[in-house]
Subunit: 420 residues, 2 copies
Amino acid sequence: MNIDVDPAAADLRSAGLAAREATRILARSSHAARQHALRAGAAALRAAMPAVLDANAIDLAGYQGTPALRDRLRLDAKRVEGMAVGLEEIANLPDPLGRVQTEWTRPNGLDFRRISTPIGIIGMIYESRPNVGADAAGLCLASGNAVILRGGSDSFNSAQAIHAAIVQGLREAGLPEACVQIAPNTDRAFVAAMLKAAGLIDLIIPRGGKGLVTRVQAESRVPVLSHADGLCHTYIHAAADTAMARTIMKNAKMRRTDVCGATETLLIDAAIAPSLLPEILSDLKALGCDFRADARAREILPDLTPAAKGDFSTEWLDKILSVAVVDGVEDAMAHIARHGSEHTEAIITEDAAAAEQFLNGTSSAVVLWNASTQFCDGGEFGFGAEIGIATGRIHARGPVGVEQLTTFRYQVRGSGQVRP
Amino acid sequence: MNIDVDPAAADLRSAGLAAREATRILARSSHAARQHALRAGAAALRAAMPAVLDANAIDLAGYQGTPALRDRLRLDAKRVEGMAVGLEEIANLPDPLGRVQTEWTRPNGLDFRRISTPIGIIGMIYESRPNVGADAAGLCLASGNAVILRGGSDSFNSAQAIHAAIVQGLREAGLPEACVQIAPNTDRAFVAAMLKAAGLIDLIIPRGGKGLVTRVQAESRVPVLSHADGLCHTYIHAAADTAMARTIMKNAKMRRTDVCGATETLLIDAAIAPSLLPEILSDLKALGCDFRADARAREILPDLTPAAKGDFSTEWLDKILSVAVVDGVEDAMAHIARHGSEHTEAIITEDAAAAEQFLNGTSSAVVLWNASTQFCDGGEFGFGAEIGIATGRIHARGPVGVEQLTTFRYQVRGSGQVRP
């Protein structure tokens, strides 16, 4: 990037160089120092409550988005307190750094240890949800990573105010302020510069809608940890406990329809569909759910809306469920391989052999047996907060918490060994 | 990519789709089946010896490269036997798939297991060294990954003959032939198509010179595991055992100068340099090594060639050593952070505290204490063969063997749990 003609690239470059310097201290900082920064940041955030709410009021003043988006942007005392508590909870997580992941000794006496270390510099690109910036800063800090935040333009003032409080925490803990930086303005060229910053930023994490994530995936020269789709399937096997299947489906589809772990497609075995499918769909219909069914499902329930081309590849994120009848585990896995997004799938069955076949034959990041797909969440996994969900094939998959924000290094201890 | 106007993209797409289908069987194949394919491939390679040597003769006939490159391209009975033995050694490695990496149970009774699984489809781009294709195919197969090989154009006929033998092994083991595919021609557009094939290829591994690797890193839309530079440092601390330091430096620099783990820069503490530096450099000079020294080293040995701008950032891969005098561990680590490539660094000292400071403060993939940097090798790590060395910050770092060619999936076993 030519920084002479691109001020945003110059801004990013200076932020990246400052972050690199900061990581040399942060990567070696004690857990206590990082905990201190997180707790002091939480306190500073509470102290800055009026300033944060004022900044948020400025963002809201000119805001033109939908009521739903406006609500995501809006802050109140309860939400700011929630961000502060979030930072304190992250501070209470065990230290993910310096862990000996594996250790062995070679015949020549060399002692090998693989230890967890920070990734380095994270570029966090998110939409106008101020709390995402606070969570991301907390998770990166806890894992010893510097972070450069670039939130949605509509939340610029809110994000700046939150960032100021977190920097205050860094200052009180004696850690470099450059550990957590934020885009200095709303220039979109800064995002482009982040995506070009291979060597300066080690990992980009986009958090937001499919449009944002797919654009980042397509344009980034820096490795990306993300998921664009959460096209999750629940497969009801012929040997399912019908009461359990009904309970799980209601939760998997309807607990929240707007989360990436929500089930979008129901696959049900032909052997059990005639008796069970009507019960399950009436449960869901009673909760306001609508359906898109394949021909075999419509043989059982002719009034169902036929699935249009592409429906089985559509993440509804709404009270809509795609429904298909399948012939056993292999057929279900083939459907998932064809239409899925490698996010989360579940099988409901009392047949352990069928369950293992599904657990071992499905390549998605998270595969469940007799549980709701909505469990795909860092908190539910026991990771504490999550910075996102990853559906790629490398580094981390599934919920990304502090442990997934680390990499490793080999330490080799010898006594003068040379290679023959 | 518009496959209508790009036949190479069409070739890559059909290879990728065939590979994806193949992985659905390969990923679930038994270790025995993969071992069978590797051993049968080795036998087929031996049986095909005449055909392989004839193909290699065709490649050599028109070859215009340097004698060194010609030697890399050249095959003989011994080298073909070496490839066969390599496949058999890979077959003897423990199965990297299906391992429970970690397991825990949540208060709600959900049982979580993180198990190792294949990455999926590897795109292997290498130069005209036929054995690299055989090793890569073996390592990918052993780890349950399909691979698409694209070797150097000058080795096209040799690579095709080797590939045919490996496919014979797949056939005999009853595994899909599409598990190991090779570029159908020498069209350079096929490489470009591989680098664009996000979603079709899961990981690109370039193996070769800096030119190839940096081009792949710069152009790839697919995640890349690689190293462009091996700018390794050996730091001799003030408390070093001088005899050990001399022995290790001879090995680290001169055992082989053309490998990425060879030491390129010697850093030595000012406190010990006046007495030890002359001895070390005379050892190396006796082996034909030349030097590029900073001002402080030249105060001790005025006849040394001054280091020019950029010398400390140059990977010599030759009988040349950059030399700098430093003031302790922090100064040495600062030099490494400024000039290094995150590959391999070593400290030589009898002072355990200084060693730990270096081991914990250096972010390179491999950090050694009292051992030669030339130990950065999959075989020396006990991984068996390696497909390359990675110096990035995500997924795998250091030597990449079968275990590093895996990713993971979460299996969650429940009894009807739904999310509150």
